[in-house]
Amino acid sequence: MRQPSVIARRVAAASVTLVVAAGAAACGPKDNDAKGAGGDSKPQKGGTLTVLNANPQEDFDPARLYTSGGGNVPSLVFRTLTTRNRESGAAGAKVVPDLATDTGRPSENATVWTYTLKKGLKYEDGTPITSADIKYGIERSFAAELSGGAPYLRDWLIGGADYQGPYKDKKGLASIETPDDLTIVFHLNKPEGEFPYLATQTQFTPVPKAKDKGTKYEEHPISSGPYKVVKNENDGERLTLERNTYWSAATDAERKAYPDKIDVRSGLDSSVINQRLSASQAADAAAVTTDTNLGPAELAKVTGDKALAARVGTGHFGYTNYIAFNPKVKPFDDPKVRQAIAYAVDRSSVINAAGGSSLAEAATTYLPNQKSFGYTPYDHFPAGASGNPAKAKELLKEAGHPNGITVTLTHSNDKDFETSPEIATALQDALKKAGITVKLQGLEVNDYKDKIHSVKSEPGFFLAHWGADWPSGGPFLAPIFDGRQIVKDGANFNTGFLDDKSVNGEIDAINKLTNLDEAAQRWGALDKKIGEQALTVPLFHPVYKRLYGSAVKNIVISDWTGVLDISQVAVK
């Protein structure tokens, strides 16, 4: 069922990785700080906010963006039907209305979703925003030349799998109805209680058909948000955003839009970004970054300096790094061998390799340790902080390997501190104590991705990671553990080849729920149940730490994105 969206999904996975790769992932105490630096005064309008980034905003077309909750810089320009709640911590993982008056009204078992637009919404040129423009924006994301978004629309909308986009198919998608200028109705092919989460993605931004220039639209996308793009140089390397005077704060409860101007400069080295933010001189005092985390060495330096340490924002993004097994490969077909490895794992040394306890939190559950995911604590194979080699040896003996085993651990040669050699060597050292000799197989990163996502070449024992498209158990568990999503000739994400009727049935049942809190609980319970099979060994959840300039105020870091929300920042 995911076949048509394989490429999109891979792009997605890659873009999630990008976010993290920019710096070492890390985690820390759970006290999400929403402190305002640079004085006690209230945030004021005005000034220029500088954004120092590593990766240029190469795509600025709402159809092509793969974002979680509408993204950071894109969310300043594109308003969507719903959006993420712009609050710190767990409250920020809620979905709230944006262009629509509510988060959607489900009917017919959550297969039909109806939205009504707020009154008085306008584009940057003063023309009114209509529901037909939202329909058109979604339709153009189906065009092959504008691919890049998440696969869900194609999978969920009736007729979505075959639709080629409005340039080839002028009639449009019949499953999106616009009975009047303010109403839009979506018809899905199956119950999807999490549709409001999907409606936060930039594909749900209105695009006026008359202004659409196809692939050139990204040079000047028509703004519906508080800022418009004034300049876009070198394919998103340098962006200048200024106020969209037709945007009204009265219709937008989420975006604060304090600065008058946003100056995005990208293509910088991550160490340069952190150096400039810590020096915080001239324009850099009013600077933030939306893609560069502090690495372990930088953290060591920053924590030694109190003034600097006060300018670090800490956040948690729903993300899990884990060991994956292919149960078709011996000896991992034996649950006892998988359990032995789960017992032998030394999470403290893995966490040190990932950047230390401030940048990573031990994981024993597959779902991230956040309420919105339905986090249900469990530790089926308790290894403690530094492993239980005695128990592992015992299990290996029961499995018929009294003299230990020799296995190959596949990892990437990326420098991401996630699936990289540092993590693999830490595991190698820990498993040695349990009589498990680990040989390392490091692959070039593209080769590694191809291998682990192909049914034919999937290794038996490898490092993997998964990030959330939105803060819920659905996009976390379904692609990995739904037996109907095993892709035989394409990118497969169900790497444990789990095809369990009761698991598949529960996934369907939860998707019918429109009460997201109830759904979260059920996802958590399902995760706990799947965990008993030891198809994965969760290792750690990353914690993001990012510096911001000394004049930056009103820091908001939600559990949805784990990073500072640029729409809340003030520089005066």
Binding site: S271, S349, G356, N413, D429
Partner: protein, 377 residues
């Protein structure tokens, strides 16, 4: 290594073919007069000893290069070593590695094994291939010479780094990595050795004693072995001595780029990669491998330079420190009578050796530059 070759040349049966039976003794006398070369030789000997005795030394220290020590690092601060100077203590002589707590002294001495071993291995391969191809081209007929010379040109034109990156990426990871790296460097960068050997062989070939050997009915193989190889020793040793530091830099660069030896095997280049972000928080982590690399490459280069001076004093750079030209001139005057018999031959041999030396000079400049770059990184 150079000692062995030079020594084997001493009991040369054909006195006229060697630049004097006293060549080896003269070489040692000239080398001894160069203080810098002697110091460099001492440093190199010490490094080799450290590398060979790595298991013993780490046993004395009570450590090994792969065991993690989580208690010695501050996890909350990104894994920076606890204590001053990167956690230097009686148990950990040079401190521990950030993020893992592995012993740095153990990693450094085990890393020396990889760096020196790979460099020497690569040099042996380069010299073997270079001499075989060079001599074959010089002694073969026109077609063989043309073919081998063009192949040599192709290999000279190949950028070592890019070719190695490509080769190392495609070979399965089950192949023993240090051996592979030595072979890859050795099999790509032999072109210049072959060119020098070919030129030198062509010069020697035209000399009377070789003609005499040919006229008396010796076959090509015997002429190559008995008459030519001893005459090739000097330029080849000179060039090989300068290849070693270049190969050390190449191995470090490849490991730095992530295609050299694989973790957890320590190597200096790999330590540099891991350490380059730590230069502010844990400077000794970066300075140790960088310093080791700098000292090794410098010592080997100075030694190589000394060897060249001793083998061919006329090509020695006048700017080099400690070449001991005055004392050397005296030593030369003393031994004049020993070399008198080989006067005519020596002039031609010198010309080609000078050519080799010029080439070696430019090579060395690159080696120095890359060593400096490593240190800065």
């Amino acid at each position: 290594m150079s000692e062995a070759i030079v020594a084997s040349q001493a009991p040369g049966t054909d006195l006229a073919s060697v630049p004097g039976a006293s060549g080896a003794r003269q070489f040692w006398r000239r080398l001894r007069t160069q203080r810098a070369a002697l110091v460099a030789a001492g440093v190199v000997a010490l490094l080799v000893l450290l590398a060979l005795a790595a298991p013993l030394l780490t046993a004395i220290e009570g450590q090994d290069p792969t065991t993690y020590h989580p208690s010695l690092i501050d996890s909350a601060r990104g894994g920076v070593p606890v204590g001053s100077f990167g956690g230097v203590s009686g148990d950990h002589w040079l401190g521990v590695e950030p993020q893992t707590g592995r012993d740095l002294f153990a990693r450094l001495v085990y890393g020396a094994r990889v760096s020196l071993g790979v460099a020497l291995g690569a040099t042996v391969v380069q010299v073997l291939v270079g001499v075989v191809v060079g001599v074959a081209a010089a002694l073969g007929n026109r077609w063989i010479d043309q073919l081998l010379s063009r192949i040599t040109d192709i290999f000279v034109a190949m950028p070592l780094m890019i070719m190695s990156l490509a080769l190392l990426a495609i070979v399965p990871s089950s192949f023993p990595r240090p051996l592979l790296v030595a072979f890859v460097i050795g099999l790509i960068a032999w072109g210049n050795t072959a060119k020098i050997v070919r030129a030198q062989t062509l010069t020697l070939k035209g000399l009377d004693y070789v003609s005499a050997a040919r006229l008396s009915g010796w076959n090509t193989w015997r002429i190559a072995r008995r008459e030519l190889l001893p005459g090739l020793a000097a330029p080849v040793i000179t060039y090989a001595a300068l290849l070693v530091p270049m190969n050390i830099s190449a191995e470090a660069a490849l490991s730095f780029l992530g295609v050299g030896v694989k973790p957890p095997t320590p190597s200096w280049g790999q330590m540099l990669t891991a350490a380059n972000v730590w230069y502010q928080a844990a400077p000794q982590y970066l300075l140790l491998p960088a310093g080791a690399l700098l000292v090794t490459v410098l010592a080997l280069t100075v030694l190589g330079d000394g060897v060249r001076t001793a083998l061919d004093p006329r090509a020695a750079s006048r700017l080099r420190v400690g070449t001991g030209r005055k004392r050397e001139a005296k030593a030369d005057a003393d031994s004049k009578k020993a070399t008198a018999d080989a006067d005519s031959k020596k002039a031609t041999a010198d010309a080609s050796a000078k050519m080799a030396a010029t080439e070696a000079d430019s090579k060395k400049a690159t080696a120095d530059a890359s060593a400096k770059k490593e240190a800065e990184a």
